[in-house]
Amino acid sequence: MRGLAGIYAQQFKVTMASFIQYRAALVIWLIGHVLEPLIYLVVWSTVSRSAGGSVGGFTAADFAAYFIVLMIVNHMTYTWIMYEYEYRVRQGTLSPDLLRPVHPIHSDIADNLTSKLITLPGMLVIAVSLGFIFRPALHTVLWAIAAFIPVVLLAFAVRFVIEWTLALAAFWTIRTSALNQMYFMAMLFFSGQIAPLELLPHPLRVIAFVLPFRWTIGFPTELLLGRLTPTQTLTGMGMQAAWLAAGLVLMRVVWRAGLKVYSAVGA
C-alpha cells in the first residue's frame, strides 16, 4: 500500500508537470466543459420563460442552478480514457506500461485526479461567475452537502470503472469510435446532461434508474440542489455501490480477456 502511495505521489508530480506545459490546452478543455451545459442552460431557461415561467416545475432559476451544478459534477467525474485506449493499442504504447510491475490503471487514476485538481479552481470561478449572470435558485441543505462528498466520489469511481472497461474494447477492434459515440449519446440522454431526468416520461425515468448513467452525473447534481430525500439519497448510493461492484467484476474479466487477445495478436 505504501508502495502504491509512492507511485501515486510521483505520478501526480509527472502529470502536474506535463499539464503545466500545456496551459493553453487546459483552458480550451475547460471552455469545452463549460459550453455544453451553458447551451442547455440557455435553451431551457428560454423554454421555461416562454412556457409561462416554468417547465415541469423547473423555473429559469432552477435550470440555472441545475446546469451550473451539473457542470461541476460532470467535470469532477469526467474521464477521457475511451479516446486514449484505441491509440495505445494501435500504436503499441501500452506495451511499456505492461512491462511495469504495477497495473496500468493506477497511472490513469492518478492522471485523472491530478488534472481535476489542477482545473477545479478554474471551474469553480466560472461557476460563481455564471451564478452572477443567471441567478440560480439554490435550495440546498446541510446534510445534502455532507452527503455530496461520498456521492460524487462514488460517481467518479463508477464512471471511471465503466469507461475504463469500455475503453478495453480497443483490444478487439481498433475502430472504437462507433462504440464510444453510442455510449456518449446514451450518457447525454440518461445521465441528465441534456435535461433534468424529472422532465422525462415515466418509462424513460425507469430506464434511467436502472442504467448507470444517472448515478454518475444526475444523481449527485440533484442531491446538491436539495431535490432528494434522505431515502432517495441512500437508494442512489446503493445503486452506485451496485454499479461499482458490477463494474469492477466486469473490468477484471474484460482486462484479462483483453490481455490474452493483445498478447496473441502482437503487442
Binding site: V14, S18, L99, P101, A267
Partner: protein
C-alpha cells in the same frame, strides 16, 4: 550444483493469423463477406539457454522473428507453443517479481514522458520499481557518469535529440538494475560516437551487475564489441548458436573494397569481383586473405583518390549462414 539458466527457451513457436486479400475494389468487397486469413509462423521452434551474466547477440534479417521472441521473453506475447522461463518465471504470467527483475528496451517505444525532463520519469520509475532511495542515488550517479547524462536530465524529453533520448531511455530502463536485459536495436539511428557510448555502457552494466543481456542489432560493430556468442535466426528458425568469432570467420570469407577513381572507365576485374561502380566508386569483393595484397596493388597501380575496406554487412553474413543451411 549446476547454476540455473537466466533464460531457457524450449521449442518456442509463435504463429500469427493475419487477414490477406488481393488489391482492387472487387477483392475489397469480397473481403466484407468472407475474410481470407493466412497463418504466419513468426517463430518456428527455437530453443536456447542463456547463462547468468552472458551477453548474447540475437541476429537475423528483418522479419526473422527476433522482436517476437524478445516480446515472448518479456511477457508481452503469449507463445503458440513451447516453454520459456526467465529467472525461473513464466514471462506471460507477468508476475510482479519477474517484471521487477527484467527490462526490455525497444528502439521505437519509449517510457519517458514526452513533455517533462527525464529526471522526473526516472523518479517515477524509482517509485514503480520500489528502488530504495540510497540505491537509486547510487545508480543514477553511475548512469549519469557512464552515459554523460548530466546536462540532459533537466531538459524536456521532446527537446532532446534522438541520441540523447535513447541514452535516457536506456538509463530509465536500467535504473532498477534488472538481472535480465533485452535490448532490441538499442543503437538504431544513432551516430557512431553515440553507438560506441551505448555499447560501452551496456558492457559496463553487465560487468558491474552481472546482468544477462540478449541484444538484437543490425550493426555488426555492436555485436562484435559486446557479444562472444551469437544466435542467428531466419524465418523463425534457429540457424546458428555459438561463438561470434567462428560465425564471422566462417561466413565472412570475403571483404568489400571500395575504390574511388573518379570514373568507371578502368577494368578492375583482375583485382577481384567487381560488384558495382557508381559515380566513380568501384566496389570490389575479394577473399579475406587477399585483402592486404589487393589493397597494395590497387594503390600502386591506379590513381586512387580514396579507398575503404569493409566487412560485408550483417545481412550478408546471415544470408550466407542461411544459404549454407548450417544448424
Amino acid at each position: 550444483m549446476a547454476i540455473s539458466p537466466a533464460v531457457d527457451i524450449h521449442d518456442l513457436h509463435k504463429t500469427f493469423v493475419v487477414p490477406e486479400r488481393e488489391g482492387g475494389m472487387r477483392a475489397a468487397l469480397a473481403s466484407l463477406v468472407r475474410r481470407r486469413k493466412q497463418e504466419v509462423k513468426a517463430v518456428d521452434g527455437i530453443s536456447f539457454v542463456l547463462s547468468p551474466g552472458e551477453i548474447v547477440g540475437f541476429l537475423g534479417p528483418n522479419g526473422a522473428g527476433k522482436t517476437t521472441t524478445l516480446k515472448m521473453l518479456s511477457g508481452l506475447l503469449h507463445p503458440t507453443a513451447g516453454t520459456v522461463t526467465v529467472l525461473g518465471y513464466v514471462p506471460w504470467e507477468r508476475d510482479r517479481g519477474f517484471l521487477r527483475r527484467i527490462t526490455l528496451v525497444m528502439g521505437q517505444r519509449n517510457q519517458l514522458v514526452w513533455d517533462i525532463p527525464p529526471i522526473d520519469s526516472f523518479e517515477l520509475n524509482r517509485a514503480v520499481y520500489r528502488v530504495p532511495a540510497a540505491e537509486y542515488r547510487r545508480t543514477l550517479d553511475e548512469l549519469t557518469e557512464l552515459l554523460e547524462l548530466g546536462p540532459l536530465l533537466k531538459k524536456p524529453v521532446r527537446n532532446l535529440s534522438l541520441g540523447e533520448r535513447m541514452k535516457c531511455e536506456v538509463a530509465a530502463a536500467l535504473l532498477h538494475r534488472p538481472q535480465v536485459v533485452f535490448l532490441d536495436e538499442p543503437t538504431i539511428g544513432l551516430d557512431v560516437t553515440m553507438q560506441r557510448r551505448i555499447r560501452g555502457f551496456i558492457s559496463e552494466h553487465n560487468r558491474r551487475h552481472g546482468a544477462t543481456v540478449l541484444l538484437t542489432s543490425h550493426y555488426m560493430a555492436d555485436v562484435e564489441a559486446l557479444c562472444r556468442r551469437v544466435i542467428v535466426i531466419h524465418h523463425g528458425r534457429l540457424l546458428f548458436d555459438g561463438d561470434l568469432a567462428k560465425l564471422v570467420e566462417r561466413f565472412t570469407s570475403h571483404k568489400t573494397i571500395v575504390v574511388s577513381l573518379g570514373d568507371c572507365g578502368a577494368d578492375l576485374s583482375p583485382y577481384g569481383e567487381v560488384v558495382s561502380c557508381t559515380d566513380g566508386d568501384v566496389t570490389l569483393r575479394v577473399p579475406k586473405s587477399e585483402t592486404a595484397r589487393v589493397t597494395g596493388r590497387l594503390l600502386a597501380d591506379l590513381p586512387v583518390m580514396d579507398l575503404t575496406v569493409e566487412d560485408p554487412p550483417i545481412e550478408e553474413v546471415i544470408d550466407r549462414v542461411f544459404r549454407e543451411e548450417l544448424s
